[in-house]
Subunit: 224 residues, 2 copies
DNA sequence: GATTCCTTTGATTATTTTTTCAACTGTCTG
DNA sequence: CAGACAGTTGAAAAAATAATCAAAGGAATC
């Protein structure tokens, strides 16, 4: 969610409109008071902050944001008609992430928003496998179905991981055996079937994802 | 270390001089070739990149930086006399972090450098690790549960710290061993179990936070 | 140097997962 | 439609893994 604090409703509307049309969620505020009020409930991903505002001005708001521990990491892009070097330096040194000089093009605004967000997002660390409503988090070793955590045993987890890593591919029982149990494992009777069954049960409404290929083995098919 | 790629030696020298006088380490390059050569040996904290360069131009260099896995996270500020919205958008969308239009003031440059670096530096190490009613104070080296101080042994404390620093992630016994005991420690895996047990006991009603992941290891559940 | 507390370890118990076996169901084929 | 084959189901045995306990070995402290 991106928040624009701007007293000129014309400009504000254009900003919101452009952000939304570029796929961002956006919301506008006309002054610091309503802005801080909303901040109690929710934190935006980024704030575009006009400097010239009635009441508390943008620089004041920025200072306040940077003082509070809850908000000091929120990225802020300042926007103003004052384009002197001093104005820019002041804002940037107070902790703004970027600075837009009015009149600025909407596409420049978008590019700067993207640039700041890009730099702010942490390196992706979580390795995930997804298909339909099923998500496997390899780092947490957890599995969720439609957002609900489900508990899998080790073998079930390994099977699911194998299937999700190779969507669409058929695996014979022997292949599943050697991949999940290890190449030199000796075991015959319906062990794989058994685990497929329990896995299907736990996947609930997504049990259809594990398809039986008669005479061959099993396969994971992601719909949607 | 900040690197400036700029063919005009006059401008380059001023940039370097200003950066150094502001306490940064700085180094200049007159073209892409020497720049990439130096990049083999060392990685800069930030690059100020002129667009108009002999040979490979700044945009090309930026593209190349963003393609290589070794360099794609290096912050880049573009600098150029071309100040049209298109130029800015192009650079920013290619992955630049900021854009300076020549002639730019040296203090603006410093402010933008600071702003970009500020945003790039990782979150300060949290000196207070919290989860549910458990609080670890790294400065005091104390742990409290529901406000009550509890006494942990060294290994217990290190374990808890590791878990709280990585909420949700699973750790195998081997990982716990190498992280808490040291990489080259050789010992039975029962040792870890034992410390997990004592730690759980001391966490009292929060013992559930340390989850056993059968066949894998342990994990601290990231609640709240 | 004695004492205390922390750490480690082996043995034992408890718990969960995995495997097995047999019966069952469905599908395909002649 | 019967028979054979392949997959599914259910329960119970077997195996694997983790938790617990008690006791020995170490490190730090006084």
């Amino acid at each position: 969610m991106i928040w624009c604090v701007e007293d000129d409703s014309g400009i504000r509307d254009i900003e919101i409109y452009t952000l939304k049309s570029m796929g961002f969620e956006a919301q506008g505020f006309s002054d610091g008071e309503t802005f801080f009020e909303a901040l109690e409930k929710e934190k935006p991903e980024l704030v575009i902050l006009d400097i010239m505002l009635p009441g508390e001005d943008g620089v004041e708001i920025l200072k306040r944001l940077r003082t509070e521990p809850d908000t000091y990491r929120i990225p802020v892009i300042m926007a103003t008609a004052k384009g002197t070097e001093f104005d820019k330096i002041q804002s940037l040194d107070l902790g703004a992430d970027d600075y837009l000089v009015k009149p600025f093009g909407m596409m420049e605004m978008i590019s700067r928003v993207k640039a700041v967000l890009r730099r702010c997002e942490p390196e992706p660390v979580q390795r995930l496998l997804k298909a339909d409503g099923v998500i496997v988090n390899l780092d947490e070793h957890t599995v969720s179905v439609d957002g609900e955590r489900i508990l899998l045993t080790f073998k079930e987890y390994e099977l699911l991981k194998l299937f999700l890593s190779n969507p669409g591919l058929v695996f014979t029982r022997d292949q599943l055996m050697s991949d999940v149990w290890g190449v030199d494992y000796i075991g015959e009777s319906r062990t794989v079937d058994m685990h497929i069954r329990t896995l299907r049960q736990k996947l609930g409404s997504y049990s259809y994802m594990i398809e039986t290929v008669r005479n061959v083995g099993y396969r994971m098919e992601a719909k949607k």
